[in-house]
Each structure stands twice: as C-alpha cells, then as structure tokens.
C-alpha cells in the first residue's frame, strides 16, 4: 500500500506569510497576439487563469457560495469548443436541496483595428437545460470566436450541501497556466477534512484572520487556504490506466464536524474511520436492512436444508442471490428501498444486492461483513470519507479463511470480484470496528491455450484448440460467451483470432463458476499460418496465439501502468508436419525476464518425430508498474513480439 500512497499523495507545503497568489491581470494586445502556448506549441487553447473561491454564510442554515472565474486563450479552431460552457448544478427533489446559479458573466476579448474590443454574453443567450431528474445546467456559447481571442466567464453557485465542497481539479484537457482554489472557512464552526491527490504538485498557503460572514452578527476567525497549481500540462490519455482521475491533481473537502451556535458542542460528521463507520452504521442500510431476515427466511431454510458445511452454506446462498437478483448497473453504498421490496422485484443496486447477501449469510450463522469500497470509475478514496465510498460487497470468514463475494455479477465466484471493484483498497465494517483490506489481487489469474494441429502438404493447417480460463479470465470469458448463439461465437472467435474457418464450437462450465471455464473449437487456415516462399514453407509455430500488437506503442509514459490483476498465460501447441518435409530452421529457445522476474516470457520449442512442440508462458507478476519502469516494460514487449512472430522453415526432404 505504501507504493500507492507514494503515487497519489503529493506533499502539501504549508507556508504562512508569503503568498504566490495571483490576481487577474488586464488583458493586453500582447496577450491577444500570442499565437501559441509557451509550454505546449500543440495546444489548441489554454487556461490562462482559473479560480474557484468558497465562502460561507448563514441564512436558514449554513450555505456555501462557490465563485468561479476562468480565462481561456483560444489558439486554433480545435479549441473553439472551449467557448461552449455548461454549468451544472444540483436541484434534487426537495426545495431545501436546491442549488442555484447566479451572476453569470461571459466576455470575449478580441483585437480590432489595433484596439482591444470586448463583447458580453446576453442573458437571452443563456439557456436552462435539464440534465437528469436531479441535475440542471446553464448553457451558453460565447460569440465572435476567432483564433487568438481570449474568453472569460464567471458564475456563482449557492449551495446548502456543505458536507462536501466542490472538488477542484487543477488540470484540464488543455494546458493550464494558473489554477487556484481558495476556501474561507469559519473554523470556530466548521471543520473539514481535506482530500488531495495527483501526479503533479500544487501548493497550499493558509492564513487565519478575523472576518465577517454574511448573515452573521459577530466577527469570527476565518481560515483562508489557497491551493495553487502552476503550469500544468494537458491531461494525457494512455492505455492501461484504469481511471485517469486518480492521477489528476485535485482537492476535495469533506465536513468532519460542525456547530450551529457559538456555545454549542461540535457535532462530528466524519473525521476518522471510526466516525465513518459510526455514521454508516447509523443508516438504515447498515443498521436495519443488514439484519432484517423475515422476507427471505423461508426460502433460505429451504435452500440450506441439506447443507452443514459452512462453505457449502456460503456457496449456496451466494449462488441463490446471484440467480435471484439482477443488478441495475448502479454502484451505490446505500440500498435504494426496503430490501423485502427489492427482493420481490428482483432488481437492485450494488448495496441492495450485497447487503441482502450479507443478511442471508448472517442468518445462516456465518461471519459476514460489508466491505465498503470505491469502484474504478469512482476513483480512489484517500481519506476517511463517506462520499469516497460508492460500492459495497461481502467479506466472509470461515475457520480463519476469508472470502470476498460480490453477487451483482452472475459469473463472479468467491474471491473473484468484478474488475470494477478491484480498486486498490476497501474497508471492512465489523461490529467492533473496521479494517483496511487490500483489494489488488495478489494471486495470478490463469489462462491456458492448448492446440493440436497438423500441417498438410498443401500448406493448410488444421487443428483443434482448447482454452481453459480461471480466476479473472474465467469471469471475463464467461461474460463474453454468455447468451451468444453459435453463429455469434463463431464470429467472435474468428475476429479475436483472425482465423477464417472456425467450427465445432463447444464450451462447458459456463454457469458453474466453481470449475474452470472450458472452450473448444476446430480451425483451419492457410496463409495466416504458413507461407510459401520459393520452395520453402515458413510456419508460425504459435499459429494465432502469437501477440500481434505491442500494447505499449508510445515511447513515453506519464502515468503508472495498471494491469489490474497479475496474470499468467500458458500456450501449448503441437504441430505435425507433413511427410516429405523436414525442419531446416527452428527458432531458439529463450527466457526473457523483466527485472527479477516481475514479468517473464518462457519460449520453448523442439521437433521430435515430425512433431513440433511449442510451450510459451507469459507471466505478469505485479498489477501495477511505475512510469519509470515503462521503458523496460515496453522493451520486454518488443522482444516478446519478435520472439513470438519467429518462424520455422520447412524444406522438402
């Protein structure tokens, strides 16, 4: 876990007295005439300045105001869409939940006849749009956009949701020269815990002053914190990054405690893991629903009738919930409704299904507890916060052995969680406390390919292939095979392996996740496996199992390489060569190792009695690689591809 924290955590430097904070400068002709970004000549636009400022007021209750101003330079046509602005805000379904947007202002600055001109956005060009039941947006586009213009817009959002201040990301899809997030927090009343992460650093300056608050009689001390990021490059997209937002420099504030009057005691919201556990345990989901059993009692008794072993009970309940319930694709930490209703409907979110699973496991006297976590799309939680969690699944201990169960996917098995849940760490909530849990799989997921083939003297390769998939590979393959007709499967295999003639498709254990998934088919092909040049035959010993593309084409890398789970793939191929031919050249055996074996290729090949046997294993023994290891990883894959694409030469004997 140390590694992960080192990756995400940039040190906050506290520096009182001296501040690098910048104010908005007046726009000059030089700014308008700047033709490209000084830091990135390919930039289509650039954030010159952006600032978000949070301050508090008391009306009926605490509220915050979020003032945002952003100034963007447009360099070329590809950057014109920066002038299309959408301001999202939450409306919820209660009046007291509603946020509001005010003070929208937008300008475009341009040069005309050697003078700086500016045009303001008109109110009637600002549109209201519903994004969903809960969210609305103000939308506008700025007029007179040309290469070189500078746009500037500002707005204020008023919000009653002080439990979370808006998250600020210092990096954008275009380069950013200056990005500042300032909070002014009345520390006598409100305390926040701060979340920060990111791959590029930003700095923090804090100062405590006396000040006044809107709607407040007396002056109080206000802690002003400025978080400043300078000269940040644009966000890069790279393969093998599960969620780039994990690496973006960003900051979040979550309310940890508050009081409403000067002489009241602090009310804690969430500060430590204990607080989070307590807060969560107090909710309906983790207090009532997790221990309610009346709605499933009868059915549970029936399915457990002949079961005595705890693991049998666990597996029976797990399979029962998987079959009974359908996941509605919603990743949630709280149940959507009373679980008896959800149970009856058969559809629910992750909390509905997995909390129900825990309730049943407990009813069967198993030691089952919820694991709260954050899915890959939700990003990594770093601080003890409720909002960092968006997902829950089950943790079971039987005779000291632990099992992780997630019943949202019909093909998961104990300890094989769906990929969305494999997001570094989770937290087990037990009756007597909590425990952090490493979710990065430590054991390798396995897949085996076995091919038996024969080369005819006409240059055709006919053979059969068996594929055995376990662990994460089992889950992956079951999903891709599920509910597909033979025709669809044929096309799927033909596509995946670029082989034209695939027949006799079969598979077994699709639904039985306790056994390895087996797939099989026969194939035949000519040119893609064996080429005739002159009188010689050039045969690809790995047939369609050779790796064709290097997944790491780019020469440079910014972010870590996330394989999500360690893996090993074994290939075993035998090819019988035709009568009248003999081997003229056979590739050399080889073992390539990355570092001390964190990734490894073993390539063994031999010919005996006109049969060529090839054994090739790939192993990746870590889930995560650092960017500084990228070059060697890339080199490793280049050698691997070259090796796997080598050929055997056959000549007439």
């Amino acid at each position: 876990m140390k590694l992960i924290f080192a990756l995400l955590f940039t040190l906050l430097t506290f520096n009182f007295g001296y501040s690098q904070s910048q104010e908005l400068e007046d726009i000059t002709l030089e700014m308008l005439r700047e033709a490209q970004s000084p830091s990135d000549s390919s930039a289509v636009a650039e954030v010159l300045y952006e600032k978000g400022k949070i301050s508090f007021s008391v009306r009926n209750s605490w509220e915050y105001q979020f003032e945002v101003i952003r100034r963007i330079k447009i360099y070329s046509q590809e950057g014109y869409n920066q002038a299309n602005v959408q301001i999202q805000y939450y409306v919820g379904d209660k009046n007291s939940d509603k946020e509001s947007v005010s003070n929208i202002d937008g300008y475009v600055y341009y040069e005309e006849d050697g003078e700086i001109e500016r045009e303001k956005i008109r109110n009637r060009d600002i549109f209201d749009v519903d994004l969903s039941e809960m969210w609305e947006a103000k939308k506008f586009t700025l007029p007179k956009i040309q290469d070189g213009v500078i746009i500037e817009y500002s707005y204020t959002i008023d919000s009653p949701h002080i439990s979370n201040l808006p998250k600020w990301v210092f990096q954008n899809t275009i380069p950013t020269r200056y990005s500042e997030y300032t909070t002014r927090i009345p520390g006598e009343y409100l305390a926040y815990s701060i979340k920060t992460k990111g791959y590029y650093p930003f700095e923090t300056f804090s100062d405590v002053k006396e000040g006044s608050l809107a709607g407040f009689q007396t002056r109080t001390s206000i802690k002003e914190s400025k978080h400043i990021g300078i000269n940040l490059p644009k966000i890069e997209e790279e393969p093998f990054v599960n969620n780039v937002s994990n690496y973006l420099p960003s900051i979040g504030y979550e309310l940890s405690s508050y009081k409403t009057g000067q002489y009241e005691a602090y009310k804690s919201v969430s500060r430590t893991w204990d607080d989070v556990v307590k807060t969560l345990s107090d909710t309906d989901t983790y207090k009532k629903e997790i221990s309610r059993s009346n709605y499933f009692e009868d059915e549970l008794k029936a399915i457990l009738k002949d079961k005595t072993l705890p693991t049998d009970k666990m597996n029976t309940i797990f399979n029962f919930v998987k079959n009974k319930m359908t996941w509605n694709d919603e990743e949630r930490r709280y149940s959507s409704d009373k679980l008896d209703k959800v149970y009856e409907e058969g559809v629910g979110n992750s909390a509905d299904i997995n909390v129900m699973l825990i309730a049943m496991l407990r009813e069967a006297n198993l030691d089952a507890n919820p694991v709260l976590s954050s899915t890959i799309s939700n990003g990594i939680p770093l601080f003890p916060t409720i909002s960092g969690f968006n997902y829950v699944f089950a943790h079971v201990t039987i005779n000291g052995e632990t099992f992780l169960l997630d019943a949202t996917d019909e093909f998961t098995s104990p300890n094989i969680l769906p990929k969305r849940a494999l997001n570094w760490t989770g937290t087990i909530i037990k009756s007597n406390g909590f425990e952090s849990l490493d979710l990065k799989p430590s054991s390798r997921s396995r897949k085996k390919f076995q091919i038996q083939a024969e080369l005819t003297s006409e240059g055709e390769v006919n053979g059969m292939c068996r594929i055995i998939s376990l662990d994460q590979y089992g889950l992956e393959s079951r999903r891709s095979l599920n509910k597909k007709s033979d025709d669809e499967l044929k096309l799927k295999y033909e596509n995946a392996y670029s082989v034209n003639k695939i027949e006799e498709i079969s598979n077994s254990n699709l639904k039985d996740t306790s056994k390895p998934l087996l797939e099989g088919f026969t194939f035949s092909g000519k040119e893609q496996f064996v080429e005739k040049i002159g009188d010689k035959l050039y045969l690809s010993p790995m047939l369609f199992l050779k790796l064709k593309e290097n997944p790491f084409k780019e020469e440079e890398r910014v972010y870590p390489i996330d394989f999500t789970f360690p893996r090993t793939v074994e290939n075993f191929i035998t090819i019988k060569i035709p009568e009248g031919y003999q081997v003229d050249y056979i590739p050399e055996k080889a073992i390539f190792k990355l570092g001390d074996g964190v990734a490894q290729l073993t390539y063994l090949i031999e010919e005996f009695n006109n049969v060529i046997s090839v054994k090739v294993n790939h192993e990746v023994n870590a889930a995560l690689f650092l960017p500084q290891d990228y070059n060697s990883l890339r080199e490793f894959y280049i050698s691997l591809i070259n090796k796997e694409n080598e050929k055997i030469i056959l000549v007439k004997s």
Binding site: Q77, Q146, K553, D584, Y585, K647, I649
Partner: protein, 630 residues
C-alpha cells in the same frame, strides 16, 4: 362514471384476452431465431382531423428476449410546444403472461432532448428507465400524442431495429380533414397486406417477419424493406400554414416562410465583402473568396427553438455572433454571395456517409441538413458545405455526396443531385524509396490523396505531433517497430489533394530465419479486411464509394540477391481489380501495386465471392520474398 360496471367489464376482458398474447409460448422458432426482441403485436393509428390537428396512437406489445433487446423497446415520447403527450403507459408481463408492474406517465424520466452537438433545443423527451429482473419479458407500451405539426407524418416502416422480428404489426392512417392526403410506397411492399378502403383510410399490415441481422456492407433498411410515406396537401409547421402539391410549390413555401427577409447584412460587412471581391473577375473566384471569409469568421453551433428547427437565424445575427447552425451559416453565405450578384440555392439534404436521397417522387418535409448550390451556366455547379471551417471550396466529401437534394429559391423548389465521386476521383498514390539496413528498413514515403480519400486524410494537417504519430502507428500497424523521423504535409485546397511526405525507420522489418532473409514486398499499403463468413447472408450489400490505389515501392538491394522467382499477379472481378508486379532494375526491386474497388450494389448471393476477393487481396498484399546476402 355513467356506467362503471361496463367499464370494469371492458377492463377485465382486455386483460384476460391479452394474456394469451403476452405469453411467449406461442412464438415460433422463426421469430425467435437471431432475435433480441419480437414485436408481438403493434397497432399504430394516425388520425388527421385538420391541417393542424393530428393524433398518433401507438400500442405495442413487445417481447424482449435478452438484454440486448432492451434498446429496441423505444419506450419514449418526444414533446414540445406543438406536440403534447396524451397518454403514456407501460405494463410489464413475465414470460407466462402475468402482469408484474405498471408505469404511468409520471413514472417516466422527463429531460430536454439536447444532443451533444446542439447547444440548446426546446424539444423534450419522456423516457422509461427500467431493468427487467430476468428475460424474456413482455412489455406493453401505449403512447398517444397530439400535434399541430402536420408537416411530418409518421411513415409506415415495420422494420426499425436489427435483430427484431415481427409477429404482427398494423399501421392505419385515417384522414378526416377533407384535405388531400398523398402517399408513396417504396418498391419492397411484397409481404405487406394493403387495405385501402378509400383514399382517406389506408391500412398496412405485416405478419411473421423474421428478424434481420446486422451485416457488413449492408445498405439502409429502406433500400430493401417496406416503407410508405405520407403527406398532407395543406399542413402546419410550428404555426405556419402551408399548402403544396409538388416540389415547386413546396420550395416556394419554404422560401416564403423560412428564408425570406433573413438576408440583411450590416453596412460594414457589405463594404468588406465588396472590397474583398472587387479585383476578382470570375464568379468562381468571388465565391471562393466569400466561402473562405465565412470559414475564417464563423463556427458551427446548433441552437433549436420552435421554428428554429427549420428556420435559420438571420444573416445579421450570424454576422454579429460569428456562429450559426447549418441553416444559419448557409443562409449567411447565400446572403454574402448575393451582395456580389451571385445567385445560389439553399439546399435541403439528408447528411451522413450512408447515402439517402430526398425522395423525388414524393413531396414532403424531408432532410436533416442544408448546403449551398451555386448554379454555373457553362460549367458544373459549385457546392458548398458551410459548417466546416477547413474543407476546401466546392468539396462536399462523404457527408453529402452523390444524392438528391431539394433546392429552395424564390421561384420555387427543384430536385438537384450532388456530385458523386467515381473510383478514380477517390485516388491514392503511394511511392516509397526503401533502403535495407540489416534487419531494419528506412524509407521516404509520399502519399497523395484526392476525393473521399482526401476527406479521410486532410485533417492530419491540423493535428498535433502526438496524434500524427499515433495515426501512422495505426495506419502502418504492420510495421511493429516504426520510428517516425519526419513528416511534411501539404494541403492543396485548389485541386483538393493532400500530400504526405514521411521519413521513417522500421526495425526488424526483415526477418532472418537461418540464412534466409525474408522481405515483405508491401510495407506501406496493405489491404487487410477480413470479412465475416455468414452461414447465410440475409441482406444485399453495396460498396457506396469505390477507390483506386496505386503504389510503387522501390527497394534498394545493394549487397543482396534475390532467392525467389518473381511472379506478377493479376486479379479481375466484378468487385474490382488488383495487380501486383515486380521489376528488377539497377540493383533495385520495384514493386508496383494497383487496386480498384468498384462502386456498386450487389445481391446477397454474391457475398461469398466478395469475401473471397478480399481474402485474395489480403493474401497478395502479404507476398514475401527470400533474399541472401552477397
């Protein structure tokens, strides 16, 4: 509540008779095969009571067989100022036909219908969010809408989704308005039973239609499945009344109601345009200067309010804001051209790389995009796409090529056809000089493209270094270890050609096995399309745009000798032709390649030959030679 008993009675019989319908037990194997959903029974009734009063009633019972079928449920209703939802209701039944859930209008999500390309529209949509607990599930969807917009009347198109079979579907249009209702049936009506009692009561029904699978190179549904279009002679569009019976009148109506008076421009722009064009002699030169002025000064933004869905914002407003949608920008360009006495036609078209005509023999509101046409007396017409800031003058690309459009002008409407690209127009010439250095090659490659191939390539000119690099890495993905050394582009908008000059190195290009050096003769233009083998191809197919590629690769063979006999390849078929030839000259090997893919429509029975043609070319494009060191 005059007779509550009667009401209840009706309700009960409805449910009990419906249940039989809802059970999936009586679905035949033909309907289920390759289907994700089955329309068990669909009744669409369109009732026209006046030129501004139309009610559409849809009653659909659909069985969703699996998850993928859910997208074909289409449980939504659009509405706006002139279209109101009268009823919206969904009932869910399990596989046995018993009711498990109902949704009323208030249970539907209500959102604005803003797409990612438009900034704003006042159209709204109500849709149902529902995840079935298991499949199959049968869904009864009822929708009734009432609208004053009669310019668009729902067409009869039984097939609307791939992988959806139809047990029974009926479409009835009832015209009580006394206004002439016109209709047009396409040429694929066999299997449709038609009951036209009188010109104002038309009924179309189909039954037991199997589902259609999505197959490669298949044309749009309406080119091989039934479709009937309808139009009223007198109609309304967002409060504007129209009365037309042919394209001439329809064009006139559009001009009068949607375009007229929107061409005013401020003095400053008028003088700017006059100045810009004063020294240009020909219409073509003037038009080009004005087109480039529009490209340099505006951008595309879509805002659709009320009639704004059809009516452009004024030229004056585009001039001021420097943005507009296709209508606004086209009208603006037209107004600017007008200043220098160039007549042009505002043309309504169906856009998209899948070619769709404005149906010439049926006058009705059609199209989804507009472009500009400048008639030329002794030359081919000029065509302008006004929403792009970078495509060349008089170049439409695959977005609006080769199709019928409606030209709208003060004298009326007429149907025109946009230019088509022939195989030879869509031309690419690749030449390369290649040196072999041990296992690596270095090469100077030049690629010249025109026509639709230009359309695919010219945007490279505006890309950043990183994207250019990834373009070549994927364009030449046969070169596993390519290093891009330099590149140079020239975009010649005058004759619409794009030239790429690329220097590169590819490691491990030459494979060494024992003493043999193996050289792939085609490093830079491999056609590797692996078409799927369907057991039985269901749909016809077409190549809507052909092309011609010519290549010349010159390998320097210093210190190397050829160990393979060279054989030229010549392949000719109805789908196109392919040649690969070799020549040894002064220690160099010259490889010449020619590939023409014909533009044509084909019967499904020809598909196997098509697959074979592609696979032959893939094979020849991987031809290899053996070399030896000297």
């Amino acid at each position: 509540m005059k007779n509550p008993l009667f009401l209840i009675f009706l309700f009960v019989t409805f449910i009990s008779s419906a249940q039989e319908n809802y059970s999936i037990a009586n679905l035949t194997a033909e309907l289920i095969e390759k289907s994700n959903s089955v329309i068990i029974q669909q009744n669409i009734r369109v009732i026209i009571d006046d030129y501004d009063d139309m009610t559409i009633h849809e009653d659909k019972i659909i069985t969703i067989l699996n998850e993928k079928g859910m997208s074909a449920l289409d449980a939504y209703a659009s509405y706006d100022k002139s279209t109101k939802i009268r009823n919206l209701e969904v009932t869910i039944y399990n596989a046995l036909g018993s009711e498990i859930k109902t949704f009323k209008e208030r249970d539907f999500m209500d959102v604005s219908a803003v797409s990612s390309v438009s900034l704003y529209t006042d159209n709204r949509v109500k849709y149902l969010e529902y995840t079935p607990a298991s499949y199959p599930v049968t869904i009864h969807f009822e929708k009734e809408t009432k609208t004053s917009n009669t310019a668009f009347i729902k067409s009869f198109t039984p097939y609307t989704n791939y992988y959806q079979s139809i047990k029974s579907s009926t479409f009835r249009i009832e015209n009580n308005s006394g206004i002439v209702l016109r209709f047009s049936e396409n040429g694929f009506m066999e299997g449709v039973s038609i009951e036209n009692e009188n010109p104002n009561l038309l009924t179309y029904s189909v039954s037991n239609l199997p589902s259609i699978s999505r197959e490669v190179y298949s044309p749009s549904f309406e080119t091989f499945t039934p479709k009937v279009m309808f139009a009223l002679q007198t109609f309304e569009l967002e409060g504007e009344k129209g009365e037309v019976s042919n394209w001439q009148e329809f064009g006139l109506w559009q001009h009068e109601n949607l375009l007229k008076g929107l061409d005013q421009l401020p003095e400053s722009t008028i003088s700017e345009i006059k100045l810009l064009t004063q020294n240009l002699e020909t219409t073509r030169k003037k038009a080009k200067a004005i087109y480039e002025y529009v490209q340099n000064n505006t951008r595309y933004i879509s805002v659709q309010i009320g009639l704004g869905g059809w009516k452009p914002i004024s030229a004056k407003e585009v001039d001021d804001k420097k943005y507009g949608d296709c209508k606004g920008l086209t009208n603006y360009t037209k107004a600017l051209l007008n200043l220098v006495d160039i007549e042009s036609n505002y043309c309504v078209v169906y856009s998209g790389s899948e070619i769709q005509d404005i149906s010439e023999d049926f006058t009705s509101m059609q199209g989804n995009h507009v472009i500009l046409n400048i008639p030329q007396e002794n030359d081919e017409d000029i065509w302008l796409e006004c929403t792009s800031q970078d495509i060349p003058f008089n170049f439409l690309g695959t977005f609006t090529d080769d199709r019928k459009v409606l030209a709208v002008n003060p004298t009326g409407g007429e149907i025109l056809r946009t230019p088509a690209y022939t195989e030879k127009d869509n031309y690419q010439k690749t030449t390369a000089e290649i040196n072999i250095i041990e296992k690596a090659i270095t090469a100077n490659v030049k690629i010249k493209t025109s026509g639709t191939q230009y359309d695919n390539r010219y945007s490279l000119g505006g890309e950043n270094e990183k994207n250019i690099k990834s373009h070549y890495l994927s364009y030449w993905n046969n070169l596993k270890e390519m290093i891009l050394i330099s590149h140079e582009f020239s975009n010649n908008k005058e004759d619409v050609t794009f030239i790429e000059k690329v220097k590169l190195k590819a490691d491990n290009y030459v494979k060494i096995y024992g003493n043999d050096l193996i050289l792939d003769v085609n490093p830079f233009n491999k056609f590797q399309v692996n078409l799927p083998n369907y057991k039985v191809r269901q749909t016809p197919f077409n190549v809507s745009r052909g092309f011609v590629d010519e290549d010349e690769f010159t390998f320097n063979l210093e210190n190397l000798t050829l160990d393979t006999e060279l054989k030229d390849i010549n392949l000719d078929s109805e789908f196109g032709s392919y040649q690969l030839s070799f020549e040894i000259k002064d220690n160099t090997l010259i490889v010449k390649r020619y590939f023409r893919l014909n533009k044509n429509n084909y019967q499904k029975s020809d598909y196997e030959k098509f697959v074979e043609f592609f696979s032959q070319i893939s094979k020849y494009d991987n031809t290899k030679l053996s070399l030896k060191l000297t």
